[in-house]
Symmetry: C2
Subunit: 336 residues, 2 copies
Amino acid sequence: MGDVARLAGVSAKTVSNYFNGYRYMREDTRQRIEAAITELDYRMNLSARNLRSGKTGMIMLAIAELDQAYLAEFAQTVVNKAEELGLGVLIETTGGRREREVEVLEGSRGRNVDGVIYEPVALGAEDISKHHGGFPLVLMGEKVLGGPFDHVTMPDEAGTRTAVSHLVDLGYQNIALIGTSATKESPGQALRRKGYIDALTAGGLEVREHIMVATKRWHRPDGADAMNRLLDSGEQVDAVFAMNDALALGAMWAAEQRGLRIPHDIAFVGFDDTEDATYSIPSLTTVSPGRDALARAAVTALHRRISDPHYVPGEAPIVTDYELIMRKSTPPLAPR
Amino acid sequence: MGDVARLAGVSAKTVSNYFNGYRYMREDTRQRIEAAITELDYRMNLSARNLRSGKTGMIMLAIAELDQAYLAEFAQTVVNKAEELGLGVLIETTGGRREREVEVLEGSRGRNVDGVIYEPVALGAEDISKHHGGFPLVLMGEKVLGGPFDHVTMPDEAGTRTAVSHLVDLGYQNIALIGTSATKESPGQALRRKGYIDALTAGGLEVREHIMVATKRWHRPDGADAMNRLLDSGEQVDAVFAMNDALALGAMWAAEQRGLRIPHDIAFVGFDDTEDATYSIPSLTTVSPGRDALARAAVTALHRRISDPHYVPGEAPIVTDYELIMRKSTPPLAPR
DNA sequence: GTGAAAGCGCTAACAT
DNA sequence: ATGTTAGCGCTTTCAC
């Protein structure tokens, strides 16, 4: 920057003013600076600016994994929105593993970005308060009581309840659940399980532990695997609610592999409304949880928290609207 | 860091040595430092380290979009591999738009990371040399002649040729191509188109411009749209090679919507071997281009370039092995 | 409207 | 094996 100043015949401070949009500057000064920048092909050293200003212009997005359509689409929207606000996005993935989640919360990178959008999977609310190092944080999922965090959350419970109730209304009586956890339940899992149980209860149906199937992850192979176990069990099943679209599509595929006719023999419902749910054969009924709005809300809240020192995180979660998207995988149940 | 040094009764330099793994240090010194760090809950200020050392410990991954399964899976592997090497990954998306691609190449963020992995879509080789600001760069796609860049590339041409030849061998005679460009062709597009044409020619089949269909992007809706236009055209088609899996799955869906039986009436082949190709109904024959190996190779090459000042980028591209994965969407052609 | 000087928190180079 | 000095390239403060 010194070089630019010298070439333009001004001080470094004036060049700095130029970059920071300082308003009072003579037109000829501005032009000389611009000419010098072009001439020298100068780019500001962000490390130096960061050191001095205490800001980095970057936020971190810490999620379980990118190779899950929902999270990839979420990340895409976060990157776009951040770009609008002049922020870069550093992506860390945790694989949903507790150890990595703690690392992210305690590590130095978290304190060296302006803020973090964080999706806890293995970590509970207490853990987060305990391990958190004091940087601006927006949580995806449950509220951490007392923590100074914004939190954005999908309508997990209500969305699931609506979807399962829809199956009940269509006449299905043996509705399986795919995607529970054999070990520690994540917040989203707990809420979706609750929505499922409530809908069955409200519909006067029995809640059967044997048709609630745990999976390790939430990818297609897990869904296929779960479906195979379900069919092997001999339990009667006429519909499946899966905790996300990938599980539902994997389950549907496994059922078809075994010679069942979809959706005639078994109906399927997913959650997320990722692109592949529209284009599966048959197309998949699913819950659209307002993904883009949520991602934008997360970035906006974080940005406000970063740039306004008086900003106080909202007590209430930011929840988006959801919508049940009805497609061909859930026909009205024909009398058997 | 000064605080830590004071509390531990050593100089700042010794604390710095501690963080940088300097080997010669008395055990009790080390322990006093560790105690002080814990006591103060100290985390290093990376901006200061970056300013001083001229490195940031971050690389940038500049790709078209994250909400494309192939790129999301690629990004996931890049993040993992970078993490292994102690590097953070800043993700920028360009949407494949020329203007954004230039911005990324010229902007200040590129000069403020240690290196960049870059996927040009709209930008040609000349553009890249012209706009590049001198930072370590690994390109995905074609070789930029004379540029000091490593480049990693999928076996676009050979993979496509093999896939289309397979259709020819099975007896298909009217093989459409989905995913060409109406405007400027990207490197990958050009190579896949060439592979397609070569395979047809080698098989003694006519190359028909009318069954080569352009799409705006490479997502499912684009594939569906292209398939509809193809079917509306009245051209005879018994198989489709799509430039990626998403296009193939969208096209397959559209054909099914119109009452065609898949794969009996039309066979489909994709490219990428994303997870959804395994679990579609019917499962999709596709080219597996060694995605993970490629992502790891890209990070490794960049890391070497960053850390070894004598490293000279290879002349030859890093190409991975590919494999044709045969599934149910391409049965041997029964005599009609 | 612009300049001069100080200093953000680290590490390279050298000293001990 | 550890301490001292200087300075990375910016922005802040205050003076002009």
